[in-house]
Symmetry: none
Subunit: 131 residues, 4 copies
DNA sequence: GTGGTCTAGACCACC
DNA sequence: GTGGTCTAGACCACA
């Protein structure tokens, strides 16, 4: 598959996988019911330890992003199946807060930061609902 | 002093200190030339090891947020002394990207996300210039 | 490995390690992608504390000289991955200035000093490009 | 007097004083038999601790750069009075070696480095013997 | 008093 | 196995 890992990053490999699956979902590159490569496929393809992939899948399943069907494989969840995690809002705020703090040191204005957010948003969106 | 550590967080203690110092600077609660508590003061107050505080201070100095003056203590840097790190912009984008992805799963609209950013921004700012 | 520490030197141990790694890179004794001894290996071999080695490695990573890959070890960076630090030039001038001042007291001429620089330069270089 | 200290530098204050006295001698701004300000004068003028100045003067005397005459003050030594320290050559080589290593990472050529040395040399020299 | 360095030894996350 | 974090406690240089 199509993940790129950055060994120099300080983010653990399994986190990078998680992040990229989520990103591809958000971008519409992975759609509900689509099948993900098996742990073995992915691990051999990416030349990393199967345990690492397995850990990423487990965490993705815990977050309700994917489901594994025994003997059939792992699939992207339907939107309706997703647990609406109340912690999600807190996570968003946390990320935004970090951005605002870094923005303070970068010296950009509020308008510029918002513009940046819109840019990032547009880069991301595939067929996500427009509004 | 005024730091609180979250033992449940997976972020290391020294990172939490770094983050909070930066946050307080951004909020205007710490102003240039203001003196931070000494390593010993802070460590005993927070009931953590002096080395941990020291590590946080050293990293903050590396980022140009604070300066340590031998034998006198550590102080918030002047704005002009800050090194304008070009990696800062990348860090902002990264944080925003995370927010956008989480936002996708939370199901909010783009407008709502921007509104959230503005909220977070306003919570943060003290008397920093408005724009 | 191949490091020697000078207990009489007033330079901290971790600085001595840093300096020697950089020197060996410059000499071509350490080449890109080459693996450095693990923290434990090196610390037990040099009979110093693992933390001290770790600190040296972390600083080297900050300078872009080495990269650490989680769970696999630390490696010499590729030349292309090095961050071109603008402060580097200032550091060179600083070292040269010190040399010139000491040279004044030693009573050598300018020509002799330049000759000395060339000597040191040649001792250093292995098969690095000649110019 | 005319020293500028950099509190942000990691070099200790007394080292900075030593360095500047030596630099001014090399530049010819301080000449043999010239009187230096007293410890008290200098310390009050620079707003630093007298002990710090005192330590600097002691080290300068140990190196034979200055002499103190009880009750009369401290003076720059005559050239002939200087002890020709055999360790001086080693110190020069050490400084040059550092420069060469940093030069390697900066990516300059040998010629450029030599040119830089000449620049630094010329900035320095006042009426030092030309050759 | 301040911060910086080093040691010894523990625990953890990651691979 | 790897490096990263944290603690406890010591010693030192500097101001």
């Amino acid at each position: 598959m199509f993940f790129h890992i950055d060994t120099k990053s300080n983010a653990p490999l399994y986190e990078q996988i998680i992040q990229q699956v989520k990103e591809m979902c958000a971008k519409g590159l992975l759609t509900p019911d689509e099948r993900l490569p098996s742990v073995r496929e992915l691990s051999s393809h990416m030349v990393i330890n199967p345990n690492t992939v397995s850990k990423a899948y487990q965490e993705l399943e815990r977050q309700g992003i994917i489901v594994t069907v025994r003997g059939r494989g792992t699939f992207i969840s339907k939107k309706t199946d997703r647990t609406s995690d109340p912690g999600r809002l807190k996570a968003i705020r946390e990320s935004l807060k970090e951005a605002v703090i870094e923005n303070y040191y970068a010296g950009y204005s509020k308008k510029e930061l918002i513009k940046l957010l819109e840019e990032v948003y547009e880069e991301m969106e595939g067929k996500t609902d427009e509004n």
